[in-house]
């Protein structure tokens, strides 16, 4: 095959691969292509975001901004003016993304499967949404691209329901999803010389969620299957490396790390037991609370909110008690222990203003509690307190759950400190690296001026928590 086209900047991201796992698999020879590249250009550790979930991490990547500016804090939010759930997506993201910024500079851009990019914004090129897109037509910009994707039986995502029922079937499904995605990736690479080309692999996150412990325990059936899946990812990396000229700027990285789950923790249950939250009757969804009796409530993962008068529609906590309630809530969360081992569950509780800053700011701001409480805009949607668990305690949201701690089919959970980065031909910040620092050097490499409000240098770096 003769290669007609190649992108001028390539990103291949692999969701949720911790640097430790990557090094192990490279060392074992499971990922020889990655190992060869790492040999040349090195591997680095990278920090993710708080809370550590894909949509927040990728929103940080694609905007180059702190969540206080882009307003994406998780997969679910409280709908304004109610205690209903709302699902944030690219339309609720308060700021432009890297594909838009590049489009404005007349660059041709491509993005596929990046979490948080649905619904696709209208860019100078092609954007195909990720796993929360309800259909191919709705996932694709321009929508006509769905015709090609349908023709190859492209899959937006593997089936997590299946993963819960039948692990072997899950593996088959993951393989097909990856194969179709890679087919689409090479098809689109061949169509033109894209200025910026980003494809995202999600299956690594899925396999880590469902099989990480079996892999670590060398399960005779699933550990080899786990390696086989990573081998397939490596083969795709190999093909990309083979066709790209050696001087093409290239980033291969993950958005967060992973570790085995000891226990899933139903944080909302804890708030109920401690008297912070009173559930409604019947409980219809994870935010079905009795506002008149609840001083606080939470959203997944570890996002605690004060039921504040004047902000929440049925708020009962007067603003002057905001700080006191946050402090009490933090103490309560920090005291939580797993009953069998007596281990502490929460490592740290952060106030929203300790890690987020509002639009127009270049880092952490000094703010009075009242100002923090009443802040509007993207910053004002942040949790009032953010609980960071010890590795192994996966913070969930189960208001209807009867038990605080439980173990389910899920085997792995996200971690903050240990995403990986392999960068070729791109100058990244030297010392500390966090995912929201990537947009700036990408733009600079493509000779596009980063927006003035973009973070990622100097003071505008999230403090290392």
């Amino acid at each position: 095959m003769t290669i007609k086209h190649n992108p001028k900047f390539m990103v291949l991201s692999i969701d949720g691969v911790p640097i430790g796992l990557l090094r192990q698999l490279m060392g074992e020879g499971v990922m020889p292509n990655m190992a060869a590249l790492a040999e040349q250009v090195g591997t680095r550790q990278m920090r993710s975001v708080q809370p550590t979930v894909s949509c927040v991490a990728w929103s940080g990547y694609m905007t180059g901004k702190n969540p206080g500016k882009h307003g994406i804090y998780g997969f679910i939010d409280r709908r304004e003016g109610s205690y209903d759930l709302k699902f944030p997506n690219s339309l609720t993201m308060a700021t432009e993304n890297i594909w838009e910024i590049l489009s404005q500079a007349n660059k041709r851009v491509f993005g596929m499967n990046v979490p948080g990019s649905f619904p696709p914004r209208q860019v100078n090129g092609i954007l195909i949404g990720g796993f929360l897109s309800p259909s191919l037509e709705k996932a694709a910009w321009p929508a006509d691209e769905s015709n090609y994707l349908k023709s190859i039986d492209y899959r937006l995502d593997s089936d997590a329901q299946l993963a819960r029922r039948d692990k072997q079937a899950m593996l088959g499904d993951l393989d097909i999803t990856l194969a179709r995605r890679m087919e689409a990736m090479f098809y689109y690479m061949d169509t033109e010389d894209w200025d910026f080309f980003h494809t995202h692999i999600m299956g690594s996150d899925r396999i880590n969620h469902f099989l990480l412990q079996k892999f670590e325990q060398e399960d005779p059936e699933f550990a080899p299957a786990f390696r086989a899946y990573y081998r397939k990812i490596d083969e795709a990396v190999g093909k990309v490396l083979d066709r790209l000229p050696d001087d093409t700027p290239l980033l291969i990285f993950s958005d967060h790390g992973f570790c085995p789950i000891k226990q899933e923790v139903q944080l909302s249950r804890h708030l109920v037991e401690k008297g912070w939250t009173v559930p409604a009757d019947p409980i219809r969804h994870p935010l079905s609370i009795e506002p008149a009796k609840s001083r606080a409530y939470c959203l997944i993962p570890g996002r605690g909110y004060v039921n504040l008068k004047g902000r929440e529609p049925g708020g009962i906590v007067p603003p002057e008690e905001y700080q006191q309630i946050r402090e009490q809530l933090s103490r309560d969360l920090l005291e939580m222990r797993e009953p069998n081992t007596n281990e502490k569950v929460i490592r740290k509780v952060l106030m929203r203003e300790e890690i987020y800053w509002p639009s127009g700011c270049r880092g952490i701001q000094k703010m009075e509690p009242l100002e923090v409480a009443r802040h509007e805009g993207a910053f004002g949607k942040a949790a009032d307190v953010i609980a960071m668990p010890y590795d192994g305690y996966d913070l969930k949201l189960g208001l209807a759950g009867k038990t605080l701690f439980q173990k389910t089919e899920l085997e792995g959970m996200h971690t903050y400190h240990d995403a990986f980065m392999i960068a070729r031909g791109v100058e990244l910040p030297k010392d500390d690296l966090e995912i929201s620092m990537l947009a700036r050097p990408i733009l600079e490499k493509l000779d596009v001026e980063p927006p003035t409000d973009m973070d990622g240098i100097g003071e505008a770096i999230t403090p290392d928590v």
Binding site: F75, R79, G81, S82, F87
Partner: protein
């Protein structure tokens, strides 16, 4: 002419246009406030006697108050009311446990069956642009293909209020006389005309329904608005979306299923 008169005349004009162009026309009546307002406008357009049938797609899961209201006013206003149910799906045990499948089987399939049975060319629907993002792209005269698909990239232009009411064969036309109304307009008009509505919309014990459909998929909103005047007052100050209480917001349901499977719920 005040705003409500203008809205009314435009809707009456569209309704009469539809009746003039399509021999086989029907109006979908869900018994909610919007389609009941449309029914009121149809009665006005034809001086009290509507010359085409009303079609009610019965999922069997609607509120009892809605059935009562339907039967009472159907009789009172001398309506030609056709009621269809997807009996096959119901016999197979379709229940709202599976929201997406249920809506498709009982509403979409139910409507398909009715169109096949009666051969309707065009249907009047009481949707409004401000209800939902996707509806903002709708036309007053909107063709659907055989599969019921709405090809939003191939819709007739409706510039300067010129309507295209011809479409290819094998399609049926959906006509939306209320497209330009807002939720508030509807309530101001209900007030002015004293249009009857089911009392599900009025607050009882601090809760009321802003949007009604099937019992399992509707949640009441917190409200003390127990009269039409109070509802108008409430709407003047709220920022919550009208359909916030409708669990059938299908994309949300999809998202929820997906997140649940991944352990995010």
């Amino acid at each position: 002419m005040d705003r409500l008169d203008e809205l009314e005349s435009q809707s009456v004009y569209i309704i009469r246009e539809a009746y003039y162009h399509y021999k086989k026309l029907a109006m979908l009546w869900s018994v909610g406030k919007d389609s009941t307002t449309m029914l009121w406008l149809c009665r006005k357009a034809f001086f009290g006697k509507i010359p085409f049938p009303l079609l009610h797609i019965d999922t069997s899961y609607k509120f009892p108050e809605m059935y009562k209201f339907r039967d009472e006013y159907s009789k009172k206003w001398g309506l030609k009311l056709l009621i269809t149910r997807n009996e096959e799906a119901l016999a197979k045990g379709m229940t709202p446990d599976k929201k997406l499948e249920c809506c498709t089987a009982l509403k979409t399939e139910g409507l398909k069956q009715a169109i096949a049975k009666y051969g309707f060319e065009a249907l009047l629907l009481g949707i409004r642009r401000d209800e939902h993002g996707i509806r903002a792209k709708e036309r007053y005269f909107s063709p659907r293909d055989e599969q019921f698909k709405w090809n939003y990239q191939d819709q007739p232009p409706e510039l300067w209020d010129q309507y295209k009411n011809q479409a290819e064969e094998k399609t049926h036309i959906r006509v939306h006389p209320l497209l330009h109304w807002t939720e508030k307009d509807i309530w101001y008009y209900i007030k002015r005309e004293n249009i009857p509505i089911t009392d599900l919309y009025l607050a009882k014990d601090g809760k009321r329904y802003r949007s009604i459909g099937c019992v399992p998929c509707c949640s009441p909103v917190e409200s003390n608005a127990s009269t039409v005047d109070e509802i108008i007052e409430e709407l003047e100050s709220t920022t919550t979306s009208e359909r916030a209480g409708r669990a059938q917001d299908k994309e949300d349901t999809y998202t929820m299923q997906k997140l649940r499977a991944l352990g995010y719920m």
